[in-house]
Every structure is written in structure tokens, then in C-alpha cells.
Symmetry: C2
Subunit: 157 residues, 2 copies
């Protein structure tokens, strides 16, 4: 009966591959950003702001899956470089909106690479069926992880 160890090897291979795809895409994005004097996260922020318009710092944090304290630092450095501006909301003075400067907007236009671009490119080469299968299975996984995460949060109270 090799089923168990086979299954385990398959799981390892899947985890290994996901980690590879993620880290490699990230590395290549970083490399592309570098060529215009940006870091990976900074490129992501610029593209988000260019696409969605001004965003509050919290919204930005959610979008790039980072803590507010992390994004504060990223915005600090981008502000120093004249790529973005901080603007207090008048309706809720706790909120800070981040806005692209002309320089920041121009830079966004200059860089055609999207975050995780390489990953997207390669995904686009999959057959229609493979794409659908992949999304279906991944969604299943995501749903279950969300369930587990919620359980842990609840249990800790």
C-alpha cells in the first residue's frame, strides 16, 4: 500500500510548486520595478492608485495584504520620492487618502509590467478547461482555509 506516501509526496509537490510560482513571480516583478527605480511594493501601489484612484491607507493595506504599519513606511518613502501625496479626509479626519502625483502617474504609464505579470502570462497559456479546473480547485481550497482561519479566531476568545 503506497497510497499514503504517494499522496503525501503529491501534497509536497503541490506546496513546493505554489511556493515556486509565487516567489519567482515576486522576484521578477521586483526586477522589473528596479529598472525604473521602484521596489516591488511601490510598483504595486502605483498601479493600484492609477487604476482605482485615490485610496485610503487602510484600503491600500487590505489590497496588498499588509499591515497599516508596513504601508505607512512604504508611503513615507514614496512621498519622499515625490510619487504620492498624503491628504487628510475632511469628512473623517482620521482617514488619510493617498494620491498619485503627476510624476507618480507618469511612472505608472511608463511601466507596462503588472504585479505578478509573469504568473499571469503563463496562466494565459493554459487551455480553457485547465483554467476553469484550476480556478475551481483553488476556490475550494480558499474557502476551506477561510473556514479554518475563522474557527481559530473564534476559539481564541
Amino acid at each position: 500500500m503506497l497510497q499514503d506516501s504517494d499522496a503525501k509526496a503529491e501534497l509536497d509537490a503541490i506546496v513546493e510548486t505554489i511556493v515556486y510560482l509565487y516567489t519567482e513571480s515576486r522576484r521578477l516583478t521586483k526586477q522589473a520595478a528596479r529598472e525604473v527605480g521602484l521596489t516591488g511594493p511601490q510598483l504595486t501601489v502605483i498601479k493600484l492608485l492609477d487604476t482605482f484612484g485615490d485610496l485610503s491607507l487602510s484600503t491600500l493595506s487590505e489590497r496588498i495584504r499588509a499591515q497599516n504599519s508596513t504601508v505607512t513606511g512604504i508611503i513615507d518613502r514614496m512621498e519622499r520620492e515625490g510619487l504620492v501625496l498624503r491628504e487628510r479626509s475632511t469628512s473623517d479626519r482620521r482617514v488619510v487618502y493617498i494620491r498619485l502625483t503627476p510624476k507618480g502617474r507618469q511612472l505608472s504609464k511608463d511601466v507596462e509590467v503588472q504585479p505578478m505579470e509573469i504568473f499571469r502570462d503563463v496562466l494565459a497559456t493554459l487551455s480553457r478547461d485547465d483554467t476553469k479546473d484550476l480556478l475551481r480547485i483553488l476556490s475550494k481550497l480558499q474557502k476551506r482555509v477561510r473556514g479554518l482561519v475563522k474557527d481559530r479566531e473564534t476559539e481564541g476568545r
Copy 2:
């Protein structure tokens, strides 16, 4: 003809989900490590050394997909905490082997969580067919990314 925008939305969803699964698994691993006074990478290193025995710093770097300079720092801190030892190879004096101390080995036994554990757990709930499909498609993606990466490296010379 909505095919194009549909397809694009699907790609976005896939990328989004992969990023979610990866970052969430990482976050939860970090949390588990925290409970025994370790960081995420440190837990990973301890588990690797406990499983494979002494490893050179370079081997360790490859395994955790980080640069040597990063791992040097991680090992510095672990050595300071008495979890590992550095040992010069006698056959090649450039090489440094990293070895678990009894304290480090004990800690590894104490923590039952593997790196990316949550991801593994959830993967294990997939049907046999889904698992096979997922691995098949991901392998395809990985192969193509490897191809692209190799192309870029070659073209830059």
C-alpha cells in the same frame, strides 16, 4: 463577445487566490512558531535540519528559497539563541555546516506544526481527482515559468 474580459477576470481570481493561500499559510506558520519563541523562517530551518541532518548554509538557502546573505542573518540569531552551531567543513574550508544543538532538536520535537501546515491540511481534503488535476496544471505552469526565466537569463548576456 465577453470572452476576453471573462478570461482576464479568471486570471485575476486565480492570482488573487494563490496569493491568499500563500500569505495566509505563511501568517499562520509564523503564529505557530511564535508560541515557542521562534520566527517563521527559524521554525523552517529547525525542521529541515531535524529531517535532513546537518546542511551547509548554501543548501539551506536553496531549500528555503532565500539568498545566502539572508540565511547568514537567520543563523546568526539562531546561534545566539543556542539553537544551532556553525561548523567548518574540513574537506572544503569555504563551507559552513549548520548543526542543531540538543536544545534546537528538542524544540523541533516540541512543535508539531510543519511549515505551510494549514495549506497541507486543506490540500489533503481534496478528492483524488482534484489533487491530480491540480498537480498536473501547476506542474505545467512551473515548467513554463522555468522556461521564461531561463530565456531572460540567456538574453541578458
